[in-house]
């Protein structure tokens, strides 16, 4: 039975799925929805989620002492190390299991959540290391394209032309000049990994990918388009609409890469111009007032179109051709030597 | 038998096994009930660079953690190092030097300017003959046993057995023991 709103409401109408209300995220923020989708899927599939969180909006707003909005085991360590931290938790779990301290049929799902700052930038090394080592965990970046926790500074995920406080649109410079870093491909290049993009406007696709990540024999990386209504300067009720538009303009293609095999999970037949995405958000308004806005939008248009075509081509040439076999089973020798 | 604290300085080239030899010396002395130290000098050098290793052997617990300044014994594993002033640093008439060389002690003295007793042994040649490999360590340990008495052969034999029996078998053990004994027998001192 695929997870849909009706089925989930039956399961969760009287309980909080990992995260509870009473958190202090901005009204209309997409991040708690991302968390909800992920954890509901895990719980519905019989997993006990254990959550690691990088410093960021979600972290500070959900755990203001003495309150916690988490009713599952939770750890925040620092900004740049959520992947390493959760890799320690996951390893402790394997050690405990090996020593018979955990019932063998008990399923734990280790989630790491981080914003784009904690993922694309300061946390990239820790993330890459943990994925390369093959820990069984699901890393989810709620990508709101900037350091929103500290008030809209530029990150490696900020799109060109976006007005941020550290790359403002000025008289000379039209805001951030560089394209958004392609974190999905960076992560896919680890090759032992299940990688996917998701958006809250496509909940079935979202939860199917989480399910896949849960069942994947190795690390998973999920990039979630996650509107920051505050600093994208859109109305509080626009998070889902923003994601929808991102998909329809090819700004945020929905796809997955499983050990090198590409699948575009949402085909967009008549894409809308990326300019619509730009025009819908106040963070691009200072750019639009500049004479060079056209060039920047054109460059972005060219980029998103060719990226999408490239993804379709990759889907074609990688079909049924995984780069690697399943990730080596953990504890190959150690199980034999268990004491 | 040397005095309470016996200090050794090894000279070799990185990769020649001076560090392992110094450790084996320490382990054999430990088995004799002595207190020991073995420590190499570390830099950023790579294979082939001149290097030093040290030993302290004593009847009492060794407290010192400074480097060996006035060795009682200098062991030179590679005679091409003899011109290096480090070789004679901190030595005097009472110091003993054992050199792996095919030359004689006069040549060694001339090369190094060393003032103490010089002993020579063709350790590499012996190793080649007995082991088929030019690794002079066990031969040098035989020479040290003979010249200084700081270790006894049977303890080194035990160490050789510990180290090689499991990995390489009895034949290799016997070869090394022969090399050890030849070092003991064939070392020649000038005084």
């Amino acid at each position: 039975m695929p997870l849909n709103a009706i089925e989930l409401a039956k399961l969760f109408h009287d309980k909080n799925p990992g995260i509870t209300p009473g958190h202090r995220m901005c009204p209309g923020c997409a991040a708690p929805v991302v968390v909800k989708f992920a954890l509901m899927t895990a719980i519905a599939k019989g997993y006990h989620p254990v959550v690691g969180l990088a410093t960021g909006c979600l972290e500070v707003s959900t755990t203001i002492y003495p309150y916690t909005a988490w009713n599952v085991p939770y750890i925040h360590n620092a900004f740049e190390n959520v992947a390493a931290t959760i890799s320690g938790v996951e390893t402790a779990f394997r050690a405990a299991k090996k020593r018979g301290e955990i019932p063998p049929d008990k399923k734990l799902a280790f989630f790491a959540f981080a914003g784009d700052g904690g993922t694309y930038d300061i946390g990239l090394q820790s993330l890459s290391g943990a994925v390369e080592r093959g820990h069984k965990f699901i890393y989810i970046v709620y990508d709101n394209e900037g350091y929103m926790n500290t008030g809209n500074q530029r990150s490696g995920a900020t799109p060109p032309g976006s007005d941020t406080t550290t790359a403002p649109v000025g008289k000379r410079i039209p805001g951030k000049l560089q394209l958004k870093k392609n974190i999905v491909e960076i992560m896919a290049a680890h090759e032992n990994v299940y990688v996917a993009t998701v958006a809250i406007s496509e909940p079935i696709d979202f939860m199917r990918k989480i399910e896949k990540a849960l069942e994947f024999d190795g690390p998973a990386f999920i990039a979630a388009h996650s509107a920051c209504v505050r600093f994208w300067r859109v109305n509080d009720d626009k998070a889902v609409e923003s994601s929808k538009l991102a998909i329809e303009t090819l700004y945020w293609p929905l796809y997955e890469v499983e050990r090198g095999v590409y699948r575009v999970t949402k085909k967009v037949t008549n894409p809308r111009p990326v300019e619509e995405y730009i025009r819908a958000q106040g963070r691009f308004r200072p750019l639009l007032a500049r004479p060079d806005a056209k060039e920047i939008i054109e460059e972005l248009q060219q980029y998103v179109t060719s990226r999408y075509e490239r993804l379709l081509a990759l889907e074609e040439i990688t079909k049924d051709k995984p780069l690697r076999g399943p990730w080596a089973k953990e504890d190959i020798q150690t199980d034999e030597h268990a004491m | 038998m040397p005095g309470k604290l016996f200090e050794v300085r090894w000279h070799g080239r990185a990769g020649q096994g001076a560090k392992s030899a110094s450790q084996m010396l320490a382990e054999a002395a430990l088995d004799m009930g002595k207190y020991i130290q073995a420590f190499p000098e570390y830099g950023a050098e790579r294979t082939g660079a001149p290097m030093k290793a040290f030993n302290r052997i004593s009847d009492e617990p060794i407290l010192l953690h400074s480097s060996v300044e006035k060795p009682d014994l200098v062991v030179v594993i590679d005679d091409t190092l003899l011109g290096n002033p480090d070789i004679v640093a901190g030595t005097d008439e009472n110091t003993i030097m054992i050199v792996n060389t095919v030359r004689d002690s006069n040549w060694v003295r001339q090369k190094s300017g060393f003032k103490g007793k010089i002993c020579v042994v063709k350790a590499t040649d012996i190793a080649l003959e007995e082991l088929g490999r030019g690794t002079p360590n066990t031969v040098m340990l035989g020479a040290i046993a003979r010249v200084t008495g700081v270790i006894e052969l049977k303890y080194v034999e035990e160490k050789i057995r510990d180290m090689f029996l499991k990995k390489f078998g009895e034949e290799v053990v016997q070869k090394n023991i022969r090399a050890l004994h030849r070092g003991y027998e064939e070392v020649r001192c000038d005084a």
Partner: protein, 389 residues
Amino acid sequence: MPTKQALTGAEAIAYAMKQINPDVVAAYPITPQTPVVEYFAKYVADGVVDTEMIPVESEHSAMSACVGAAAAGARAFTATAAVGLALMHEIVYIAASLRLPIVMAVANRALSGPINIHCDHSDAMAERDSGWIQLWAENVQEAYDFTVMAYRIGEHPDVRLPVMINFDGFIISHGVEVLETLDDDVVKNFVGKPIKMYSLLDTDHPVTYGPLDLYDYYFEHKRQQIEAMKHVPRVFKQVAEEFAKISGRKYDLVEEYMTDDAEYIMIALGSTAGTIKHTIKELRAEGKKVGLVKPWVFRPFPKFELQRILNGRKGVIVLDRSASFGAEAPLYEAVKSALYEVAVRPQLGSYVYGLGGRDITPAHIRQAFEDAFKGYLIADEERYLGLRE
């Protein structure tokens, strides 16, 4: 039966950890710590232990993974040195503030720059206010013994703090000495099962680690850490007493060497204490009343012990293997501050030595004692041993 072996300090610590068989080891290579994790990795590869090892991509991740593992109830271990410890710095503090009894061996090495791989104490001193218990080993034996004792101290319910075992880089880490090891079973029984609190794997009792802690509570949590440190001396002594029963070796917060009638006392940490003892023996043979106090525990600082021992002596000489730029050297500063409260203050002298692995010999130690004999110790003057002017 205790066995005598010729081992390096790095091997000794790995050997103790093998006997402890921790749940998780996360580590990254750095000179001169590397052999610790190399030896341990071999134990894992050979199946001698069933520890899960995480070969992380940096020291920062090593400590981060240890935090995750310890919060999940695991006994976690790591080892590092110098710049590796500095890279961990942020998480070193977090480990202590989350009250996770992680054990870390630090092969003390000079901090860059310029880069240097040899022994001094600048790395550990940079972490002295991090909230970790700091034990300092003089030799291979103490490095082993402290490793065996560490979890017992850190995991104690009144303590719940991480423990750093300091041993001098190269001098102890790579120096072969005689080590008396205990039997595996003896160590296993002594260390016992981990005392778990608030495990992330206990999904029936979910806890939140590391919330945002603002001005209304942060201070209280720091006060708890201060309190935990106050319990360490008692717990350390208890554990040391038990350890003496299995090993015959007795530890305390400080070691006193020939202090009974000593008029002049030297204070130093780590391997140099041995060289000082050697020199003291020589000076005693010459009729000089000299002694040594060596803190085995530097954090918490054994203030009361030092006050008791140093009160009324003629001279106290403090040797530091690290400098504090723009202030007094760390050990000296702490000793001097302790002596403010004693009835009869001794003359006091500060000597910095051995930075970047510069050798310290009996001659240097004698030189400092000679200053004291001449009554030439000046509390406000930092002097240097083995430095070219």
